[in-house]
Symmetry: C2
Subunit: 267 residues, 2 copies
């Protein structure tokens, strides 16, 4: 298979049902916790068994917590630049300092808006830094994104293979705003064992015409689907088992979804 | 309930499984076809019965076909402006003419790129005009978006209520590119009977902190989820039954998802 062909997983014919199950009873996650063990236990509690080809979508927050990606605002000394951006946005200068440290570039700064190019490549608000749901009594703590979410996914996938003997895909999802649409949607910031981008270019349509420019952000679509059952606030359902994704598997990663700056008309 | 409260549907506690079933055997759709009847038949063929609260996601193409939203390139006389944009983009001037006629504004024009603000408000490539899957022998035909996709959804919802006695939500989905990410994802261009935007602002998180700026594009997430099982090319699975969306219903519409131009930093 050529490299181009490898980017073109075929939908599996006939497969047309997708199930998403938020795993019950995932406990509060802390630094150093074994997420793979928690997930395997929760799958069992849900009366399920993992199968080859299942995809597990894990909320960014619990991955960040397990990896200890917490910063304390009391420890942050904002730079001059952070103070200037804080004035322009009306945000806390200590949070701005952390956002800038996590980012390669400020894309837009306006009142209550700080959109950056995260060092991972994602254009997103506030570099994904989050004060909600960090932990009880952690008023001063904020969560950063995992250092390398694709690697986090690959580790989880490998740990689940060892533990359960199955080859699953793993996606870490987060909620991102969009340029032209209201509301956030789930997107993939990490992926392993599942194609993040599916290249359908050159496939014939129903009437044998040539399809053009059809690359599908499959991992983002799965991330959005999982987000529906995760809920956003106090639900505490951070892991979703997805069964029936009708595409052949390959070693994808979320970096496939990042549009290179030189091909981006909207920065 | 105040208007603001009505925008805040609560997730239903405990509900944590979502099922998406692509309905089997939807025939080729032509102008004037009764989509509600086709859908009801396909639900039955799939061994299912519609229930209150189910959401049906219908691909834009079949809605456009049923509504006869076909244009013939031979009938199009491109304007001077269309010729100029065609030169800048390398696109067919007749298609550009149709794109401009469907749009309020050109957002970006570059080689092989024509992003516009559709008259419906959506910022999207080529005003959603599509040459693939129009019909056999229709080499000269292109499909336009439905004239009012929110109204299309409301009509389908009403027809299914009459026919099956159930109150379902309906979403018309399309595939859109994104500003900063590779690949298209399913988005809602029409909706009825389901909240398109869910306002979680002010809800407490797991640790009773205040959540800020959390509006979720729920209808877009459902549209993306359905897109996974629809496939993009020759699968012919244009209607997806979604069961288990864990949010209270209200009369939403996809226009909620359009960011007003004056609040859009990326045009």
């Amino acid at each position: 298979m050529t490299a181009a062909e490898e980017l073109r997983p075929r939908p599996v014919p006939g497969a047309a049902e997708l199930r998403l199950l938020a795993l019950p009873g995932i406990p509060l996650v802390g630094a150093g916790d074994d997420l793979a063990a928690m997930i395997a236990d929760a799958v069992e509690r849900g009366g399920e068994r993992l199968r080859d080809g299942d995809v597990l979508v894990v909320a960014q927050k619990v991955v960040s917590k397990a990896e200890g990606r917490v910063a304390r605002l009391a420890d942050v000394r904002p730079s001059e630049r952070a103070h200037a951006v804080a004035r322009a946005t009306g945000k806390d200068a200590r949070i701005v300092e952390l956002v800038l440290a996590e980012s390669d570039d400020v894309v837009r700064a306006a009142h209550d808006v700080l959109v950056v190019a995260h060092r991972l490549g994602f254009v997103m608000a506030n570099a994904g830094i989050d004060q909600s749901n960090v932990g009880p009594g952690d008023g001063d703590a904020v969560l950063l994104l995992p250092r390398d979410p694709d690697a986090s996914c690959a580790r989880l996938r490998s740990a689940l293979r060892t533990r359960a003997g199955v080859d699953v895909g793993v996606i870490v999802n987060d909620s991102h705003g969009r340029a032209w649409r209201n509301g956030t949607v789930g997107v993939a910031i990490g992926a392993a064992g599942v194609p993040a981008l599916v290249d359908l270019r050159g496939r014939a349509d129903l009437f044998q015409r040539h399809l053009r420019a059809t690359e599908v952000g499959l991992a983002d679509e799965i991330a959005s689907a999982a987000s529906i059952v995760m809920g956003q606030a106090d639900e505490g359902r951070p892991v979703v088992l997805v069964r029936g994704v009708p595409y052949e598997r390959r070693d994808g990663c979320a970096r496939e979804l990042v549009r290179p700056r030189e091909r981006d008309l909207f920065r």
